[in-house]
Symmetry: C2
Amino acid sequence: MTYYYNADDLKNYITRFFVHYGVPKEHAEIIADVTIAADLRGVDSHGIGKLYVYYGNRLAAGLIDPKTSGKTIRETGSTILVDGENGLGHVVGYKAMEKCMQKAQETGLGIASVNHSNHYGIAGYYAMMALQENMIGISLTNSEALIAPTFGKKRVLGTNPIAVAVPSGKERPYVLDMATSIKPLGRVLIHEALGKKIPLGWGIDPDGNLTEDPQKVHEGGAVLPLGGTEEMSGYKGYGLSLLVDILSGVLSGGGFGLDVGSPLATEGSIANVGHFFMAINIESIRPLTEFRRDMDTLIHQIKSSPKAPGQQRIFIHGEKEFDIEDTNKQSGIPIAGTVVEDLKARGDRIGVEFDPQPVRIE
Amino acid sequence: MTYYYNADDLKNYITRFFVHYGVPKEHAEIIADVTIAADLRGVDSHGIGKLYVYYGNRLAAGLIDPKTSGKTIRETGSTILVDGENGLGHVVGYKAMEKCMQKAQETGLGIASVNHSNHYGIAGYYAMMALQENMIGISLTNSEALIAPTFGKKRVLGTNPIAVAVPSGKERPYVLDMATSIKPLGRVLIHEALGKKIPLGWGIDPDGNLTEDPQKVHEGGAVLPLGGTEEMSGYKGYGLSLLVDILSGVLSGGGFGLDVGSPLATEGSIANVGHFFMAINIESIRPLTEFRRDMDTLIHQIKSSPKAPGQQRIFIHGEKEFDIEDTNKQSGIPIAGTVVEDLKARGDRIGVEFDPQPVRIE
């Protein structure tokens, strides 16, 4: 059973949910917007389904500061360093990206380096904030270790995503939002839950051998970096994951490598997640109209090029998600019945009733 | 037969070679340094073996301006736009990266966006220039179309490399220098020359099917982006290749996509290659000593982690190349006999005798 909801109804609920935990309303609205952006774009893995497991449980355990939005502790012409003060990653990230774009307005470029933060939802949201300012936006974050490096067998690096958004003209913007592993661990877990094998190459077992058994990857194994084996240049994906950790964790003075906490942990120390945001003010380099025209030309060149056997369409990054967003805005955001039941049961328990009414049920 | 040479002897020759074509001596020395940095680090594909095929032939044909080092045509607090004026990519790139680092000195960050340039040798050289200034360096360039996008079969994007250099403390710096294809076309051609199959996944035939036949990739086929097939997330490598093209070509107003010329072409129009350079002044964000210490900690965490079966060592990016550089500085740079013969024959023809004496022959 799938329930379909209006985006605004879900956002209102998420706002109430976070206010319940002591989050200021203005901040709760930011988190709601980031979260529903994920569901709207079909990225369920970072949507409303994670409300308790990533945030609610940790807020209840006092492991996240609900009030702070971070504090700028160092500043130059084009850079800011933000102490996330163990606040919610969405709020800290949103405010940091705003300041980063202000810098880019002034000098052409801005970087916001953030430490002591928490899981911030979809990386792409913050990159896409730049689109409204006619800028190129970049958003990186580190995360708990899940990837084994080339020639290694232990999880030492996160699936550390890279998100970049670039404005175009008549075409849709380019929006890359990718984990630096071949697949996120979540995809492996879905195969495990369904009793299905995973393709050989996605992950290794605890002994470091390639495996088709998702359970072995899940329990003591590791996912592989983009590229996979050495023969297929997996060291490049490993290098990108490491780069994201350097820019997010080492540059900011936050956690890195094995020291980044899991958003799932309900006890222990703070997560100390690091983020890296960047904005490039296109107009400082080239007239915007020319840039937009050339983006359209490049996108058109690629999309109109000959298709591989059995394929009808070549996609630009973000395009599938924009299609899903169009559909979901029109006919409601699909939420799995099991997720809705869970939200209802948990909502009743904490006294924040899950009250959005589905626009349809299928 | 392999000949071993001192780096300085080869650099002197390369300098004389470019001066012969009308390149100012100071510029020729830059090109020599970039070229020999490739040979020193074991990246033969961008070393002295390409002297004629990438540069000499095109200079002789009047397709590259030997005199210019490019011109800054637009400037903000943190950005510069450089017209490469169809000069040699090494010289244009070197000067642009220098200016980029000056910006980073002033505002914490710098970007140099470059159009109308040519092949600039190894991307990593310019990123590594930042190490001497205690900065993080980034160097991107677009190149002639060789990669097919996911679900496509035609070459529409270059193998557009990403190079990033990051200082560390006692450990060697992190130096990523990667094509955004699984392998460069050159690796496919080596297999073809040796009559060997390529691993399934590196490339497709002219019909868009995966092939183990390097000749089919070479003649009308295409190489695949990092990741390979869709199941292995090849659209991520495709996204990275496209991103490099956007930042190098579209942002600068240079060529992009199908319009970037081949460095091998000896007739026709200019190559109109675009580059993107960036420098991050670490000190503007964090004290350098702390940054260096944390880089060492992260590198140590990864390198000391448990090894996969049959493996003794985990490498950080750039480490293998630093090892080769140490060896080559001590016992000479190995140049294949066939390359030496070619350099001698061609040198005699143009009147610039290839005169370096090998330190040993094996």
